[in-house]
Symmetry: C2
Subunit: 422 residues, 2 copies
């Protein structure tokens, strides 16, 4: 039966090629050029590959009409002290922002150590190796998303030898059947000792203010030896989708110095697991952090930083098979958006308009630390902000000139010039 349908399909294609296209009648020997008014739908004429793609691959033929295209605007936050940015206090990797008890909540990696990070060779029980070593999960609340009140620790690192005794970092939040769950990276050695190795642990609470009960078990284990995620599960990022917990994560693989970063998916029926890793992992081929949100009937992803498809917003109708939805600039780093429908099991995700992100190495390497900042955007079906839909951010020329050639490159260029003149 299916072969009959397909044969009929071929017949239709065959017939249509016998007749001229709508644009090229017999009395009009020279086909008309592409129309001056950009058609909203794909026009019935032969198209170049690029024009075909402009209608088939994006939500709209213009980026300003594409609900998954946006600029990003940034605002410093009020309420966080960084000890004059001397490198002893760091805040990074914000969770999603949630709204509860009349205010916004965010959780993040908090490091307060006697010195800035000193590397794996020089670290001790109190001196951190990396910016995310010897950290705990802290949280803050806000009425407006700009001014924040730090509330202190939510999940401290547990005593040795429990999961995360060396550092607990890069958390994200889930609300499931009235209970809150914080997933986080649980380090059992200083980052940099071998690599950035850790599995995922979880704590739970009845209120976003805690108290948080640690599950004290690895909830998402690293992969088996030889698998892409054998050493680390980074950036656990839970959403409720299709009645289950869809937890996206990143892993570093292939080893130094050419680490590859991609993203996988683990699915569970209960927040404490078991989580089943998707057979098609990795499901996102690029990106340095996980940032996803329900959008229409599927899942959208901000893909920033690494890989062939960095600087994109992507969309998967099924939450698994992601396609590029837009190409963007100056993306938020490690974004944790406010997603009103993150946990509602929605089949009509509305998108995002703001969140927190971080900026690592805010000053210089000797005072290395990260800060939290706010980003705003229009990746929402419920907002139409033309300022956010401009085609490109304005970047001053000094920023271009800061991308300068080094001495070795100048020498290489001088030699090429000399060779050409010979």
């Amino acid at each position: 039966m299916r072969s009959v349908v397909l044969s009929l399909g071929i017949f239709v294609v065959g017939v249509s090629s016998l007749f001229p296209l709508a644009c090229c009648h017999a009395e009009d020997p020279q086909p008309k050029g592409f129309p001056f008014k950009l058609p909203k739908e794909k026009p019935d004429r032969e198209l170049s590959a690029a024009m075909e793609r402009n209608y088939s691959a994006y939500l709209a033929p213009r980026p300003e009409d594409n609900e998954l295209y946006s600029l990003f605007k940034y605002t410093p936050l009020k309420g966080f002290d960084y000890n004059n940015h001397d490198g002893t206090i760091s805040r990074r990797d914000p969770s999603k922002v949630i709204f509860a008890n009349g205010k916004y909540y965010v959780w993040y990696t908090h490091r307060h150590t006697p010195t800035s990070p000193k590397g794996a060779k020089n670290c001790t029980d109190t001196i951190p190796s990396s910016d995310w070593d010897l950290a705990d999960i802290w949280y803050a609340t806000s009425e407006d998303g700009f001014a924040w009140t730090e509330q202190g620790v939510a999940v401290p690192r547990p005593p040795k030898p429990q999961v995360g005794w060396r550092s607990v970092t890069t958390t994200d939040i889930l609300l499931w059947k009235g209970k809150y769950y914080l997933y986080y990276q649980g380090f059992m050695e200083a980052s940099g000792t071998r690599g950035d190795d850790c599995p995922v642990a979880v704590s739970y609470a009845d209120s976003p203010d805690g108290p948080w009960t640690p599950h004290h078990k690895i909830v998402i284990p690293n992969g088996a030896p030889g698998e892409w995620d054998q050493y680390s599960i980074h950036d656990p990022y839970p959403l409720v989708y299709k009645g289950k917990i869809y937890l996206y994560y990143k892993s570093d693989f292939d080893g130094d110095p050419r680490l590859v970063r991609m993203q996988g998916l683990a699915i569970a029926d209960h927040p404490l697991g078991p989580f089943k890793k998707h057979l098609l992992n990795p499901v996102v081929n690029s990106g340095h952090e996980t940032t996803l949100f329900p959008f229409k009937g599927g899942i959208a992803a901000l893909v920033h930083g690494d890989g062939n498809e960095h600087n994109t917003v992507q969309f998967a109708e099924d939450g698994v098979n992601f396609e590029i939805a837009s190409i963007v600039s100056l993306m938020p780093i490690a974004a944790g958006p406010f997603i009103p429908d993150a946990f509602t099991n929605t089949q009509d995700g509305r998108g995002i308009t703001w969140g927190l992100s971080h900026f690592t190495n805010y000053t210089n390497w000797s005072q290395n630390h990260a800060i939290l900042m706010r980003f705003d955007c229009d990746l929402s079906l419920d907002l139409n902000d033309p300022e956010m839909k401009r085609h490109r951010p304005y970047v001053r020329p000094d920023q271009y000139f800061k991308q300068g050639l080094n001495g070795k490159q100048r020498q290489r260029i001088n030699e090429a010039n000399r060779a050409l003149r010979k």
Copy 2:
């Protein structure tokens, strides 16, 4: 017959699903995860859409191995005076750079007027409307590509009513059978009077130092009424490909305030025409300027600024059907690369490593003018510069904070916060 083949295809698909994949033998009931070492070729296993694309859509599964991926580095040029950047002197839209007579040559739009641009309503015979109004084509030479010596005018705007009497701008160079050809936009009214309307004119010379003989005819006319390029042919950009002159151009269409910018192709057997516009135009669906170069057996394009596929390098095996080859950041604006094989009719294009670009509105609108700058990159098969292949440029946090919210946006956000707290 074809339906038989397709039926067979369905049979094959059906059969293959009865048998396990290569990765999953009977003694290995749980299929192994994706390998830790990123395979160089597409592995023989079921892949997510993103992983499938990572192997099929790019020249390499990692951007650092992709010959069409690069960072861009910028260097100020020596040798150009801008009258203290008061807006009376502007240089913009550099041509390709060529090497001849032992030095590099570049041509560009040069404006020297009593005031900065004052808009179409306030312009006169001497006061410019836009930055490219009342301009001529000038040129400069350099031994190293960093320090330039301005040589003065190459093609002045001709007397009224000849093509380009109001302004000649945005030129590019062709070498064909020992003669040089400069193509340029020929304005016959001040830009902004209706839009940015102009066709393309051409001058020719036996030497890059001139003298240049104007052809005094429109060589690439605007499209017929109702066609996408009915008002303007911008950025004429000739290459020699398949034994012919492949001239790419941009047009603005759909009218203000939502101009669409795409790129077309016109092909000729002789530099003075006739040029035949390609039936599949537009062939590039994005970009604000034309920058292309021979690459392997096809043509590569830098696509900057506007459209769904801004911030990409693209590649067309046939010079017509462009696909995204990489996603890049901080692209050169209006780039004119040095392309050693631009005119050699190569079937093995080697790519580019540097060129000139511009920065418009260098200071502020009241002193509006553009400057030329140099960019370097590694989009060359003959260079391997790991510094150029890093995944992202380092952009300081102040540049993020310069992308700030405006008052209207803050108000909108405050209202949303209040509504949520109610």
